[in-house]
């Protein structure tokens, strides 16, 4: 009594598109939504640095690194600029990993591996070659495919997690405007510090003086005041007008 493999033309078509479509779709994703150039931000930072506006240079360098965390020259320049401003250089494991391997590439490779292995798994189940077989080679192949499926998707998730754009949506840089006198004299001097206040009022008590160029986490916004968290975990209110989002396409704080 011989079994007939339940393969139909329709099913083969679906598998074919699945195998071919994964890399194509992933490539199409990497090709779309292009809106800015990290090199332009880097060149802008050099111009700001030459003009003596180190906080603005640090913002442009941070933006360049959000777009391309592997841009080594931007990392060096940012380190130098922050050192001149006597600000610490933030460094987490995500940033370190992203500076070595481009998150987009990691995500792409993980996606291709994960979904290809998933497609092969479907084929294996579709052909029903496992339940009735006693051949150890097929079982080894089966477990290898399962392993690749899990590892591929895990790599894909890792690429997303270390992507600086994921966190940059909530990050702002303290960049107060030059005062009126400095602006009239065309000097880029900005106030050295900005008060972090306990409540959203000018008369509120000052919790700390935040140095210009500090990177903060924006927790919420209420009109002209923003509630932020500093790198040391201190939370308080600053004027929204003195903040610049790391991602410029987001609505500007006012």
């Amino acid at each position: 009594m011989k079994r007939q493999l339940p393969i139909t033309r329709y099913s083969l078509l679906i598998i074919f598109f699945l195998l071919l479509g994964v890399p194509l779709a992933a490539m199409s994703v990497s090709q779309k939504s292009k809106t800015a150039s990290p090199e332009e931000y880097y060149n802008e930072a050099l111009a700001e640095k030459d003009a003596g506006d180190l906080p603005a240079a640090s913002l442009a360098l941070r933006r360049a690194l959000v777009l391309d965390p592997t841009l080594a020259v931007a990392q060096q320049e940012l380190q130098e600029v922050l050192s001149k401003m006597e600000l610490p250089m933030e460094s987490s494991w995500q940033q370190k990993l992203a500076s070595r391997y481009a998150p987009e590439k990691i995500t792409f490779v993980g996606t291709v591996i994960g979904w290809s292995a998933t497609a092969i798994l479907i084929v294996i189940f579709f052909l029903q070659i496992l339940p009735s077989t006693k051949k150890p080679k097929r079982w080894r192949l089966f477990f290898l495919v399962v392993f690749l499926c899990l590892v591929g998707h895990a790599i894909s998730v890792l690429g997303v997690i270390i992507d600086p754009r994921l966190h940059a949506r909530y990050e702002v840089v303290l960049l107060p405007k030059p005062d009126a006198k400095a602006a009239l004299e065309h000097q880029p001097d900005r106030p050295a510090t900005t008060p972090l206040r306990a409540t959203p009022a000018d008369a509120s008590s000052v919790l700390a003086q935040l140095p210009t160029g500090s990177c903060l986490i924006l927790l919420s916004q209420h009109g002209v005041w923003s509630y932020v968290r500093t790198a040391t975990g201190q939370e308080g209110w600053v004027a929204s007008g003195s903040l610049e989002f790391l991602i410029p396409s987001l609505p500007k704080a006012r």
Binding site: I15, V73, W115, D163, V206
Partner: protein, 592 residues
């Protein structure tokens, strides 16, 4: 209502106290000194726990260097005040009326300046008229010291003189100015009595800088056939002026629990058991334990042989260097780690100076200290300097560190050699010692043919486009991912349903399943002969229906079934015969 008002007042008091004003003041330990003597300058910042002060203060005729800091927090009538004192050592370089300039202090986001101070430096040998005289305690070292207040109190048969005493242990009484000396202060309390400390010990005085006390270590010790509980406090101290140094007695306020007699009518044993074996009633005796005064001789650092890069390090040190990574691309940062190990004034230690830094861009080093003893006197301080090669180099910078060795009584300079590095895309650097012309007649080495590397500071001409959105926020990405996910789920579901339905609808599969069940039932021992042959005959009929067996193979089973049902003869079924029939059916089933 009364309590509410009280709590409101208390809260408002605390709130008021939590926002103190910040100010900074500077004081000199003496305003008139002889040439060769040093003065201590204290910059006190009140209303802040931390402040930024310059490590050195430039002043004409004076050398002023930061030597340490101490902080204190006080709470008086619910008003909390904190202050931090930065101590400088002031060395006059000439005689005359000199001015200590205003010190710029940055605290709580405010910039402040202290008032300038006048210091009169007179010729060598003249005594300072307003130098404070030290009161030497008449107590003998190691003797018990109790305050007169406690001595006047009735003590309920407890001898206050035997309650406790204190002693201070300083390993040497003759040392150099700025040299850090470990000190151990032991407070002994009769082990029969419990006690609690009321704050840290008070130790130090004019001309002495002390570090913060570490947490005390508690132990038991037998002295004169009496067991004492010993609280040992350890710290480091340094002298900031030369000459005879009288350190006032160290004191510690404690509260001793003195047992009280049990009230009349109460069984003391029962009461004691109820209290967990402790004395039922105790009275708190506040007292102050006090050591004897300490006399030391502080010597000035010798001026001859003082290296130019000497920055105040006193002790015994070793210097080691390492670099990581050892193989980098040009433009990548490397970290040069310089480890200073040994014993001495680690807190005021400045890092080694880098030498031969040509071709390198260096950044201020980050340092961290790991103590290897309880004092923080011995340990390892590591200075990590991040550097980026600006040109083709084959080695890191070297380093140099000078200190004064108080045992050898001389200055010592430690050096590390440049460490070799492998930098890819770099042209081989010319050897500094190579004075002879090269084999190519002095021609410079040709540049590497590798592709040009991006160099920091230069404009970038190429332009790549990237999205501001991360994958999770890209619509294309999310839709593609979800499409694949649901597609896979749907495919798996379709195949699973299809396989199940195929298996359920096939009559062949159904009959096969029925045969498997029948053969399994035949192997059961509890079946009667009639039941066995009935089931065996059913299986045989199914086989004949499928056409997988001949009638001749299964005729015996069908005949015996009929004999049992319709014949009058008794029929037996032996175990071998049963086994043979089951085997026969299985064989037929295997022929499928």
């Amino acid at each position: 209502m009364k309590y509410s008002l009280f709590i409101l007042l208390l809260f408002s008091n605390i709130c008021f106290a939590s926002s103190p004003s910040v100010n900074a003041t500077a004081t000199l330990s003496r305003n008139r000194v002889a040439a060769g003597e040093v003065v201590q300058l204290d910059v006190k910042v009140t209303g802040a726990e931390q402040a930024d002060v310059p490590p050195e203060i430039a002043a004409e005729g004076l050398q002023i260097k930061l030597t340490g800091q101490s902080s204190q927090v006080q709470m008086i009538n619910f008003q909390v005040s904190s202050s931090v004192i930065y101590s400088y050592i002031v060395v006059p370089l000439k005689t005359g009326n000199l001015t200590v300039p205003p010190v710029t202090v940055r605290a709580e986001g405010r910039m402040m300046k202290t008032t300038p101070l006048q210091l009169a430096v007179i010729g060598s040998g003249s005594a300072s008229p307003n130098a404070p005289s030290q009161q030497v305690s008449p107590m003998n070292p190691g003797s018990a010291t109790l305050p007169s207040r406690l001595a006047n109190q009735p003590s309920n048969n407890v001898d206050p003189g035997r309650l406790g005493f204190a002693e201070v242990v300083i390993p040497k009484k003759k040392f150099y100015v700025g040299e850090v000396v470990p000190v151990e202060i032991r407070f002994y309390v009769d082990a029969h009595y419990g006690f609690s400390t009321m704050g840290p010990p008070n130790f130090g005085g004019e001309g002495v800088l002390t570090d913060r006390f570490k947490d005390p270590e508690q132990s038991r010790e037998n002295r004169n056939n009496l067991i004492y509980t010993v609280a040992t406090f350890r710290t480091l101290f340094a002298a900031v002026k030369t000459g005879v140094l009288d350190i006032p007695p160290a004191t510690l306020d404690i509260a001793v629990a003195i047992p009280e007699p049990t009230p009349v009518g109460i069984d003391p044993d029962l009461f004691s058991r109820l209290m967990g074996g402790r004395s039922p009633l105790v009275r708190q005796h506040k007292m102050t334990l006090k050591t004897s005064a300490t006399h030391c001789e502080v010597m000035p650092l010798p001026s001859e042989g003082r290296p130019a890069d000497f920055s105040g390090a006193i002790g015994q040190f070793r210097l080691e260097g390492s670099v990581a990574p050892q193989k980098v691309d040009q433009g990548d940062p490397v970290t040069l780690s310089l480890k200073l190990s040994g014993q001495g004034n680690f807190q005021a230690l400045k890092g080694p100076q880098l030498t031969e830094t040509q071709g390198w861009r260096t950044y201020p080093p980050a340092d961290h200290f790991e103590a290897t003893d309880v004092f923080g006197w011995r340990g390892v301080k590591t200075f990590d300097t991040t550097m980026i090669a600006q040109q083709a180099v084959t080695a890191t910078p070297g380093s140099s560190f000078s200190y004064f060795d108080p045992i050898a009584t001389k200055y010592v300079t430690l050096k590390t050699k440049p460490l070799p590095l492998e930098i890819s895309n770099a042209t081989p650097a010319p050897t500094p010692t190579a004075g002879a012309p090269s084999a190519a007649g002095g021609a410079t080495a040709s540049p590497s043919p590798a592709a040009p590397k991006l160099v920091a500071g230069e404009r970038l001409n190429q332009k790549t486009e990237r999205s501001w959105k991360d994958p999770l926020h890209q619509k294309e990405w999310v839709l593609t991912w979800l499409a694949f996910f649901f597609g896979s789920v749907v495919l798996i579901g379709i195949f699973a349903v299809r396989a199940y339905s195929q298996r359920a609808r096939s009559p062949l599969d159904q009959e096969r399943q029925r045969l498997e069940e029948l053969i399994a039932e035949l192997e059961k021992e509890e079946l009667s002969i009639a039941e066995f042959y009935d089931k065996a005959a059913t299986a045989a009929e199914l086989f004949l229906k499928q056409g997988v067996a001949d009638v001749a193979d299964l005729e015996e089973i069908l005949r015996r079934r009929d004999e049992i049902h319709y014949g009058a003869r008794m029929t037996f079924l032996t175990a071998p015969e049963k086994e043979r029939l089951i085997k026969q059916l299985k064989k037929v089933m295997g022929n499928e």
